[in-house]
């Protein structure tokens, strides 16, 4: 399992290095310096986090890790990306109060589940805070036009509530039915992920970029929630999908920062 994990980490490192190289080139070319620099910084954090994990696994395999420093890199990634997104606020954007409240509540419940599963209070609260800040930033900066898809919004909210409920049930009640519900929750998570990726590609092709960028960010954050909720093989699948979403995130980001560029 460790070898497989390391192979996936190396794959992710390669993808992240390419994204850093490409996004760093946009710093002097794009029209949103803050977003470009913080997007690059965020990916540097992700790279350092991956490298830390790989190094620890190679040098100190099986040894105690009192503080998971690689998670600090993940916090940096979420927070720096959220900070970069603050530059998009000036555009026609905004979210309703119920949407914001739902995102905060969803993150809080997820954080509670992570604490129950791992017992790491401080680290899970910090991770929850960082992911929550990014999720709220995405909702705040999401353009009204094209996002959210009004009929799909409540459906996604309902599905994500079901996912949480099924996960909580399978945590506390250990019988065959809750086991089935747990697998149903994974299926639901991936269905929602597929929907977000599909919408990203569709909006990207239609050249509706603020929407495409927002959908790619939502797909990314949803993938993070999926990954943190998944054990074993399902976790590795999430890790692969997360790595595959990163180039998509870069492509939509590139179009966002170059949209008024006439050259």
């Amino acid at each position: 399992m460790t070898v497989v994990n390391n192979v996936f980490s190396i794959f992710q490192i390669l993808v992240v290095v390419v994204v850093i190289f490409l996004s760093a080139r946009l710093v002097t070319r794009g029209n949103n310096v803050l977003l470009t620099v913080f997007f690059t910084f965020a990916f540097v954090s992700l790279l350092l986090s991956d490298l830390y994990w790989l190094t620890f696994d190679t040098l100190r395999y099986g040894m105690r890790m009192p503080i998971a420093a690689n998670e600090i890199g993940e916090w940096a990634f979420f927070l720096l990306l959220a900070t970069g997104l603050s530059s998009l606020k000036k555009e026609k954007a905004g979210a309703s109060v119920p949407e914001m409240l739902y995102v905060i509540l969803f993150t809080a419940v997820n954080t509670a589940l992570w604490i129950i599963w791992s017992g790491e209070w401080l680290q899970d609260i910090m991770t929850g805070f960082a992911v929550g800040v990014l999720a709220v930033s995405i909702v705040r900066t999401a353009p009204k036009e094209g996002i959210p898809e009004r009929p799909a919004g409540p459906v996604i909210a309902a599905v994500s509530t079901l996912v949480i409920a099924f996960q909580a049930l399978s945590t506390y009640i250990g019988n065959p039915l809750t086991r089935v519900l747990e697998y149903v929750s994974y299926a639901l998570m991936y269905l929602v992920l597929i929907y977000f990726v599909y919408m990203t590609v569709r909006r990207y092709r239609e050249n509706k970029n603020p929407a495409a960028f927002t959908f790619s960010l939502i797909a990314f954050v949803w993938n993070v929630f999926t990954m943190y909720m998944s054990p074993g093989v399902v976790y590795f699948v999430s890790l692969i999908t997360l790595t595959l979403i990163l180039p998509l995130l870069y492509l939509t980001f590139r179009r966002e920062v170059m949209k008024n560029d006439l050259c």
Binding site: L34, S45, T83
Partner: protein, 209 residues
């Protein structure tokens, strides 16, 4: 055992006196350098206390805890300077480099006194690795703060994000050099390579801010 406070006094007093005879950026840099040394001593106190409280070994403290404590301690004076004095971007960068250089210098002084300075090669490696690492960390931190200030996006999440970036960089360095062999060579090279990479945007981009 070394008497870190005495070493600090010995190095700091001439620098402190020199501050009165310096002007503008030179004075700012020397002051930051002095603060960096004091911060290093305080970080060592806190690290020792945390090691005792958390019952970690000295190795675990160095690899896992020190990066967090040291980076938070380095951030505090930079943040204080940013908020209280509202400096220009260049002044903030200068102040940050001073903090990093002071911190690294005092750490190296204590290390040399406790472990000996017999091997010139090892001393060179330590100077180029740890010395540059602390400067790179504070430079990354201040670069992020300068951008946040410039674009009026200074926020708690932005500051914590920048702090986390410097923490993970520091933590990776400490982890790499904690084991002998190839990993330590990579670790020693990492700060210099990062400084070279940071130097390009610093020259091209930061000057415009």
């Amino acid at each position: 055992m070394i008497y870190a406070e005495n070493i600090l006094i010995c190095i700091a007093v001439p620098l402190f006196v020199s501050v009165f005879f310096l002007k503008k950026s030179a004075r700012r840099f020397v002051t930051a350098f002095l603060i960096g040394m004091v911060i290093c001593l305080i970080a060592a106190y806190i690290g020792g206390f945390m090691e005792y409280v958390s019952k970690m070994t000295a190795d675990e403290t160095a690899v896992f805890l020190s990066p967090i404590i040291e980076e938070i301690m380095k951030l505090l004076p930079i943040l204080f300077y940013l908020v209280m004095f509202i400096p220009e971007s260049g002044d903030l960068m200068l102040f940050s480099v001073g903090i990093g250089a002071g911190f690294a210098t005092f750490e190296n002084c204590c290390y040399i006194l406790s472990s000996g300075a017999g091997s010139l090669l090892y001393i060179l490696i330590r100077g180029l690795a740890v010395g540059v690492m602390h400067i790179v960390c504070t430079l990354m931190l201040s670069l992020a703060l300068v951008l946040l200030k410039k674009f009026k996006a200074l926020s708690f999440s932005g500051i914590v994000g920048a702090l986390s970036l410097s923490m993970i960089f520091h933590a990776l360095y400490n982890l790499l050099v904690s084991e002998s062999g190839v990993s330590s060579y990579i670790g020693y090279a990492m700060p210099l390579l990062s400084a070279a990479v940071l130097f390009i945007p610093y020259r091209r981009f930061v000057k415009k801010l």
